[in-house]
């Protein structure tokens, strides 16, 4: 009888401690994948220079990966499943549009300002629901974007169904690309650091066993508030960037796409990694461009893929790749 066995690669073991910097090979083993991601991202606009349409797609892809990162962070590090990422996008987008179009705040101020202000608004609106757990929080976050859409429709504020137009566009084609690339990388690597700090540990504790965190004298709601603030900061930045990219803000910012695609991306890419979210949206968004031909059938394909992944392969692509990278399989006699 033989069975397969997984063993860590030698280089994986060697590069764990201080020995990681002992030779170039180990350094490359550790830094290689990270550098590859950075390099590919920075080269993308250069490579795609002749096809401006696909440069646009890269922007959208990065926006979705930001949203997916924020979903992944909330769901897998804090245990708050937010089914309404479009809530963040909408609030950030509308704040930015109002600042820029109504109050004439210049663009280099309106994006950061809208991110922070939007995050504050989102956090305040979500604050009363933070003590809910599990499926209750998921349902209530699903309701928020719908509620805001209906309220804007019913009160006919902020341009009603026509939306807000006359928003300043992002300066220059290259800058438009590099802003979002740099911000995405900064958030990705920054958040990876953040979750390994003490506060990150506490947040994971909130996910796994909030009662014990509470028993340790830590205010669970306060921890959750901080986490929601970070996630909505990311989401609101994505929203306000999107508004300036489209030079228009409307009810479609609260659309289902912004909620479902990040979730699908995280599920496909692998949850609990942050990088899995990025990989997932790098697969899904270009795919959706190829599928544009099918119209609304795209969402069907997404949903089928999402269901298949969540039911049959819930670990995701990134888990598989990293396992292959760090370990090898062999057959042993039993």
């Amino acid at each position: 009888m033989k069975r397969s066995e997984r063993v860590d690669r030698g280089i994986n073991v060697r590069s764990e401690g201080i020995y990681a910097i002992s030779s170039l090979k180990e350094i490359l083993y550790l830094a290689g994948p990270r550098m590859a991601l950075v390099l590919i991202l920075f080269l993308l606009p250069v490579v795609l220079d002749s096809v401006p349409y696909w440069k646009r797609v890269v922007n959208i892809m990065l926006v979705y990966s930001l949203l997916a990162i924020s979903f992944d962070f909330l769901a897998n590090y804090v245990g708050l499943v937010c089914l309404g990422c479009s809530f963040f996008v909408g609030v950030g987008g509308y704040t930015s549009a109002i600042l820029n179009s109504y109050l004439h705040v210049p663009i280099y101020l309106s994006i950061p300002l809208a991110s922070v202000l939007g995050a504050v608004i989102c956090t305040l609106l979500l604050l009363p629901c933070l003590w809910l757990r599990g499926v209750y929080f998921a349902i209530i976050t699903l309701m928020y974007p719908l509620l805001l859409t209906r309220v804007i429709e019913a009160l006919n504020i902020f341009g009603g169904t026509n939306g807000i137009s006359g928003i300043e566009s992002l300066p220059g084609n290259d800058l438009e690309n590099y802003i979002i690339i740099v911000v995405m990388l900064a958030i990705l690597f920054g958040l990876r650091r953040f979750v390994n700090q003490d506060i990150g540990l506490v947040m994971r504790g909130v996910k796994d066993n909030d009662q014990s965190i509470r028993a340790s004298g830590i205010n669970v709601t306060w921890i959750k508030t901080q986490a929601v603030f970070i996630a909505s900061l990311i989401g609101c930045f994505a929203g306000s960037y999107l508004v300036h990219l489209y030079i228009w803000a409307g009810l479609s910012l609260f659309a289902l796409d912004f909620s479902i695609i990040p979730i699908a991306a995280v599920t496909i890419g692998g949850s609990g990694f942050l990088i899995g979210a990025v990989v997932g949206s790098f697969i899904l968004v270009p795919l959706s461009e190829f599928l544009r031909f099918f119209g609304s059938f795209r969402i069907v394909i997404y949903c089928v893929v999402l269901t298949l992944f969540i039911v049959f392969k819930s670990e995701g692509i990134m888990m598989y790749i990293s396992r292959r990278y760090h370990q090898f399989e062999r057959w042993v006699d039993v």
Partner: protein
Amino acid sequence: MDILVYGTINSIILALMSLGFTLVYSISRLPNFAHGALYIATGYTVWMLLNSLELSYPLAILIGILGTAASGALIYRFALIRVRGMEISEVIASYAIGLAIIEGLRWGGLRGSTFTLPSFMSGSITFFDVSIDYQRLIIMVTGFAVFVMLYLFTRFTKTGLAFRGIAQDERASMMLGIDSDFTAILSLAIGSGLAGLSAVILLPLGNIVVETGYNVLIFSIAVSIIGGLGSWSGVVVASFIIGFAQILTEVFLSSHYQMVVALLAIIVTLLIKPSGIMGKQKELEERV
């Protein structure tokens, strides 16, 4: 009088819509987010059977409801069974299936307002100066009938008692030989069948449009959350609250606010008492 009569009818409509959702949740703790999709799919199937295959109306209805019940069972057997117990995966998986159905219907030609089901009987009666058409009367009667039947079914049949056993204590009832997965399949089939039934009797009131799928889902979530997830008497109370609130907003404000009322009611309920009016969940399960 207008408000009273139409409020009652509206409440019964809401109760019928959300009964399937609550039934599934109360028995197998599965939030079936594909509920709205199954509702609209039944309407479309019946329409297709009527207009493309030209079957007789009762036959089309029967096939539609049975088909929906079967697809509910299939959804559980092939997808949800593997994520059972992981709440969030359940929500995402069933929501994804529902979205796939709804958007698939939209893509498959369910657009515009050309799809209508004929009402069972035309004409209306006048009742205290309020005219009610027969379709709404049928809805009221069916609503009562469905509730009575469900009550009898869960009290006096073996399967119904098994349902209640699983709902109360899954492990103990498994020990007594009740198959948990089989009851879940049955409960999903019955819940979906109820969605189909309500679609068939409610859709003649208007057009079959895709957006109804989302609205039905939201309303049924609203009703079952406000009533307390999994509580049947809660469904009745909550649908009367929302039903009358909606009619009142329609009379005094505008119909734009109907959905806002439902959504606000959910949010307020979740904030004040997440287990709902009649809920029996332990407090620790839902809040920190």
